[in-house]
């Protein structure tokens, strides 16, 4: 927590990292998620999770996502967004280290430190489950070498069974068949059915996504910014997020006429912005009141 925020040295620029591309062998398909990738990168550099060398790992993480986009192998949106959330957090943390700051007094700094600790905590938790998964895998494999005795009942015992009661007419039986064969879950895997129980969409998370896109590119239209929204809810939340970011003075709007195309432009500092300091009002409104505090990273629908 008290780790001093110092200027990161040896931040490799885009050219030098791409020059080392060949040394980066692992394919993304080998990883089961952003935490897995992050752990892989940390292990590759022989780093302690809690002393993550942000600059190196962040750059590789981002580069990895780019590579994946180039490959374009049907990357599911929700999967991509998880990677982007982590990438945005890493970028925030890396950016914070580039800023000269001695004392932690700014609210922004505190939020960043919290974001970092939360990221580390989640990473450690994931690491624990990954180890347990390895144990399960080994045990299941060893156990698969044993075959249970499950033989058919000897005929003279089968003959003892009470005569089956069967009262279904062919029509009733067809009804049962129809019901059993009915597709139960027609939703394709990549869409998910979480919205069925009203999963929350986080303003901060969406702001993070928007920030990530706007910060590193040219002005974008609102239409483009919500082109990948999987539901109306996400569109609405992104709009709310833009309003919040506007209040935060990191974006500006341009709309030549009412109902015409709305263009959003990044006006904040090039680095160091985080959705962490956005107003809390939307966050608290969408979760049950029994939960006092939610961190942006924890909304995952």
């Amino acid at each position: 927590m008290a780790e001093p925020l110092t200027l990161a040295e040896n931040v490799p620029d885009a050219e030098s990292t791409s020059a080392r591309k060949g040394g980066f062998e692992v394919r993304l398909a080998n990883f089961t998620g952003p935490f897995d990738l992050l752990l892989g990168l940390i292990a590759k550099h022989k780093l302690d999770v809690t002393e993550l060398a942000l600059a190196t790992v962040t750059d590789e993480f981002i580069k990895y996502i780019r590579r994946l986009q180039e490959l374009g192998e049907g990357w599911a949106l929700d999967e991509a967004s998880e990677f982007l959330v982590i990438a945005a957090t890493l970028l925030d943390l890396k950016a914070a280290r580039l800023l000269p700051a001695g004392e932690v007094e700014d609210e922004e700094d505190v939020a960043l430190l919290e974001a970092r600790d939360l990221l580390f905590a989640r990473l450690l938790q994931y690491k624990a489950f990954k180890q347990l998964a390895a144990h399960l895998g080994e045990t299941l494999e060893n156990e698969a070498r044993r075959f249970p005795r499950q033989v058919a009942l000897e005929p003279h015992f089968a003959a003892l069974l009470p005569e089956l009661i069967w009262r279904h007419s062919p029509e009733q039986f067809a009804g049962i068949a129809a019901k059993a064969l009915e597709p139960k879950d027609t939703t394709p895997p990549e869409v998910g059915v979480d919205h069925l129980h009203g999963a929350p969409v986080s303003v901060k998370e969406q702001a993070e996504i928007l920030g990530f896109r706007l910060q590193h590119g040219r002005p974008l239209s609102f239409r483009v910014l919500v082109a990948d929204a999987e539901s109306t809810l996400v569109v609405v939340v992104r709009f709310l997020a833009l309003l919040e970011m506007f209040r935060d003075r990191v974006v500006a709007f341009e709309q030549p006429a009412p109902l015409s195309e709305l263009t959003v432009r990044w006006t904040g500092r090039p680095e160091g912005w985080s959705s962490g300091n956005l107003s809390e009002e939307y966050e608290t409104a969408e979760v049950p009141e029994t939960q006092p505090e939610e961190h942006p990273e924890e909304h995952h629908e």
Binding site: Q150, E154, L160, I176, A180
Partner: protein, 221 residues
Amino acid sequence: MSDYEDAVAGLAALGERPGGARAALEAVLMVIDQPASSEELAAGLGLTVAVVEELLAELQQEYNGYTVKAPGTDADGSPADAGASRAPRGFELRNVAGGWRIYSRPEFSDVVGKFVLDGQTARLTQAALETMAVIAYRQPVSRARVSAIRGVNVDSVVRTLVQRGLVEEAGTDPESGALLYRSTSYFLERMGIASLEELPPISPHLPGLEGIEEFFDAERM
């Protein structure tokens, strides 16, 4: 005995494992559902038929209460119990219709019968009915595919249906090698129909079922 020595080369791998070739044979006999001939057992174990038949005879005697010292298989072999008479086991090894299988000993058939009946009801559970319906309308079909359609594991339910004579094995899938199942003539009998064609068509109940076929085939397990 010379057969035994002839086969020592083939035995080598098995001989190094605890219990040796005899235990390997026992392991197979304990879990096979269908009786296996001594030829099939020999082929699977990599032993000669003569050796397998010798081992089968030994096991049979041993289960019946006579301890037989098998040369080369019993590592320590205290001479005291060679050929000694002991209490029989609760199971026996029988050669029925050309195949070997382990059965429970008939002296305990009343106890076993009571135990088997305790867990049984005369009615099929809803899960069994639904599984029966899927098999009847999608036969021949593997358990994995029925599981995929029903969204739950159906292994034990299918076993119950087989036990009840409503479902039987119907070869293996040429692609996956999975066992396939179909309904039996006893099923037709219980339904009161002469053939499967008399089963009411279910398409009216299932608007747009065409897509589901491809969906499940694509993710065949």
